[in-house]
């Protein structure tokens, strides 16, 4: 060890100049050695209560008001006070500048870890990963949230709190189905979005002429003349973005209600990449903090004692219990992500024959960071695992694949284990567990009965026999029917187009739409 540089801090205490020194030291390593490309950083020191606050409004610093956030806060607070959960050391926001929240009670070592992890690891990932580049607008998000907050408040003033709450409740229930999953649409530009919302309202106000209401509209065109194809095209169905469909098509929503749906939809879209990149995002950040912390220690800027403290936290973070451990609750994204990043490092620098066979493109190329940066930019969890999970790591984690068919009375079959026959199957199945297309139920609007009672028709394509939970499905459909203001039906069909079940819900009398 070469103790060339001065220590960044001694002991556990820190102040703002310590944070600045830590940040600068991390930044130097991140730029020169890891060659990370990040948004400017903004570090905010917060208290435990503020951390809880952030938890309950999906981690964002400002958000519109809604009772559900109060509910989550009360829930979290209870657990926290009982000591059942600890709080995260940090929260980081995909915005530019990239905001990292640090808890005030962290020690200096923890602050170093967190700055390396969030302000450089996550930050680089946000700025470079293709999903985030495609779907989110880091520059505009905070302004948009600000707009959303004041817009919701305005609506409450004008239209009453209850009406707004009902609309938001309904929109939240459909939030996971308010996402465009395929590119092709324009990238979200939230600043323009905010401006457009203002212009829409101004136009409505200036173009309002009550006379139009009194103009006779003449006999309606016979709907039979509209053939099915044309109708479906006009309606834009099939459409899997339910919120988008309602915003554009629901017959009786007020303009402000459409705007609220739009807001919820945009926010859902903003979070969409995060749900697809948990393993990669945490893996990246953990790998980055591990490299930076080790380098700081080598440079003598962190004392041995503090380094041990870091190692302890780090080990806790990347702990992966076995499946039969009472602590097990699925794969720990930190553990899996970090293990894979380290495995890639090994393959690039020190490959074995097996690795050369499985990963001819990267094995032994020598430049770890080039390979990793490329991976971080161009993959999401599903493709990352199906591409880079190595036989060696499968053996190390002793992964196995279970197939549980309710028809099979003998029990659950072990389908593949960590052997030559099993590697590819295990890898394929694990990747599938991270495929959002697979995780979220596939529900789309297929048609509207325009000739008849205007019933909205939805279809759930059942995969592997997993149908919707009936109680929840009814509740969500109720919200959907309230927005649509006519009946809504949802059929669940399997791969052979056999209808397994049909749910029909009518709007409530005091429905959301007037």
């Amino acid at each position: 060890m070469t103790a060339t540089a001065a220590r960044l801090f001694e002991g556990a205490d820190w102040d703002f100049s310590t944070l600045q020194r830590i940040h600068d030291a991390c930044e130097e390593i991140a730029r020169s050695e890891l060659r990370l490309d990040t948004y400017p950083n903004q570090i905010e020191v917060i208290t435990a209560e503020q951390m809880l606050d952030a938890y309950s409004s999906v981690g964002m610093p400002l958000f519109y008001k809604h009772w559900s956030f109060g509910k989550h806060f009360a829930h979290q607070e209870t657990f926290y006070r009982k000591g059942l959960i600890g709080l995260a050391y940090e929260i980081v926001i995909n915005s530019s500048p990239c905001i990292s929240y640090l808890m005030e009670e962290n020690t200096a070592t923890m602050q170093t870890l967190v700055i390396a992890h969030a302000a450089f690891g996550h930050n680089h990932f946000f700025k470079n990963n293709y999903l985030f580049r495609q779907w989110t607008d880091a520059e505009g998000i905070l302004d948009y949230l600000d707009f959303a907050k004041s817009y919701v408040a305005q609506c409450e003033e004008r239209h009453g709190r209850q009406a707004v709450e009902q609309t938001l409740d309904a929109a939240h229930a459909l939030m996971s189905h308010g996402i465009d999953r395929y590119p092709g649409k324009k990238k979200l530009d939230l600043r323009t979005e905010e401006k457009r919302a203002g212009e829409r309202r101004a136009h409505e106000a200036s173009a309002f002429n009550d006379l139009w209401r009194t103009v006779p509209t003449g006999p309606a065109k016979s709907t039979e003349t509209l053939n099915i194809e044309r109708r479906r095209k006009l309606l834009g169905v099939p459409q899997e973005n339910l919120l988008y469909f309602l915003e554009k098509t629901a017959p009786r929503l007020q303009p402000w209600q459409r705007e609220l749906l739009r807001i919820v939809r945009h926010i859902a879209q903003y979070f969409y990449p995060q749900s697809q990149t948990k393993v990669m995002n945490e893996g990246t950040a953990t790998y980055v903090h591990y490299r930076i912390m080790n380098r700081l220690h080598e440079q003598g800027r962190i004392s041995d004692g503090n380094f041990l403290e870091f190692l302890q936290s780090h080990t806790n973070v990347v702990f992966q219990p076995d499946f039969d451990d009472p602590r097990f609750s699925g794969f720990n994204p930190y553990a899996l992500g970090f293990a894979m990043m380290q495995d890639i490092e090994r393959i690039v620098t020190n490959p074995e024959d097996e690795d050369r066979e499985w990963f001819p493109d990267i094995a032994g190329t020598g430049d770890v960071m080039a390979v990793l940066r490329n991976t971080w930019a161009n993959y999401r969890d599903e493709s990352f695992i199906s591409q880079f999970l190595s036989p060696r790591l499968i053996r190390k984690l002793r992964m196995f694949h279970l197939h549980d068919d309710p028809e099979e009375s003998a029990g659950i079959r072990v389908d593949a284990i960590h052997d030559e026959r099993g590697y590819r199957r295990v890898r394929r199945e694990l990747a599938r567990q991270y495929d959002v297309g697979y995780i979220d139920p596939n529900i789309e609007v297929v048609d509207v009965d325009l000739a008849g009672d205007r019933r909205l028709m939805l279809r759930h394509a059942v995969v592997k026999g997993a149908q919707l939970n009936e109680v929840d499905a009814k509740r969500v459909l109720q919200h959907l029917a309230d927005l649509w203001s006519y009946d809504v039906s949802l059929v669940e069909v399997d791969a052979t187009d056999t209808v397994l079940k049909e749910h029909v819900v009518s709007p409530r009398r005091h429905a959301v739409a007037a």
Partner: protein
Amino acid sequence: MAMHIVDRRLNPGGKSLENRQRFLRRAKALVQGAVKQSSQDRDIKDVLEGGEVSIPLDGMNEPRFRREGGTRDMVLPGNKKFVEGDMLPRSGQGSGKSSGSGEGDGEDSFRFVLSRDEFVDMFLDDLELPDLAKRKLAEAESEGLRRAGYTTSGSPANISINRTVRLALARRVALRRPRADAIAQLEAEIADCDEARRIELTAEIDALKAKLRRIPFIDPIDIRYRRFETMPKPVAQAVMFCLMDVSGSMSEHMKDLAKRFYMLLYVFLTRRYRHVEIVFIRHTDRAEEVDEQTFFHGPASGGTLVSSALMAMHEIVASRYRPADWNIYAAQASDGDNSGSDGAAVSQLLTEMILPVSQFFAYLEVGEAGGNTFDMSDSSLWTLYQRLRAEGAPLSMRKVRERSEIFPVFHDLFQRRGKQEKVAS
């Protein structure tokens, strides 16, 4: 690259307070039920501390489409002995996780902590102050003043400078009152110009000056006064009389019951009035006003004359609490004993002096723990009060033996009218 550090710790807390209030409002009925439930078996002190409540999630759920059932595939870490093709028994050892229930279960009831204020609010929310006795006094509330626009006449003290000057300015502009600097400019021009021009200018200046004099800077018609209106002002202060029999027959338990009732009444009144005073009057065969400590804990012995306490209360009201300015509440606690000869004096004092000036008079008969409330044989005081009630005196009376009965009794007494007409017990 520039880095900013922002210290958010000093930002005002309670950012989520509004969300919390929305949540509580939405869950009101449920939370209220839970609060009542948990207040049954708590001490008053504890109740006022708030605490954890558990509510069912009805109407508070946030549904999502989610799937369940079907064939499931999962990849797990930590294989120890399985080989391909093994069949594992369902829900057996080692594969317990694989038959785990869908997410979202176990969320059907919801626990969280209510603060003290929230708890008391919820507890008292459906209670309301009775105005049984003092109906005719309710109109004799004191009068207050309220701003009500402007007027053209009034006292000089109420002149509104702002409004007056604004009107004067408007008038001056409308009548084109010459400005002083315009005249000054013309006068400056006179200094260097020829004779003809000078005469012309002088005439102009004279005309302007004449106009200036004709149009005053401030005219009496500009003057406005602030106008005030009288309006009835509700009496925002209350006094609460605690009367208690402290003769030998009152046990510690009975005093404890009384104390609990008084505390609840106090909390309730402080929620409704800006200012609440308490007067403690204890009595044996004579009454005295004491402080709280003596009231509950001071030793005393002697006979029992209720009329002495009522007399003391009457005197205090007369000397310190004018009924027009104060809402008067009285709660009397006793084990029901009273000297037989005192009945006539008590009924006269009550009906003629005390009840006409009181908003509310409650009599709480406390008994020893263990017995059944309904088996209590009617005491002399109870019988007397019951007779007064029957004659139309606005009295509320309840019997209490157990701590746990205090809340229901209190609740019962102050239940919002319309829900349930108050009935004698």
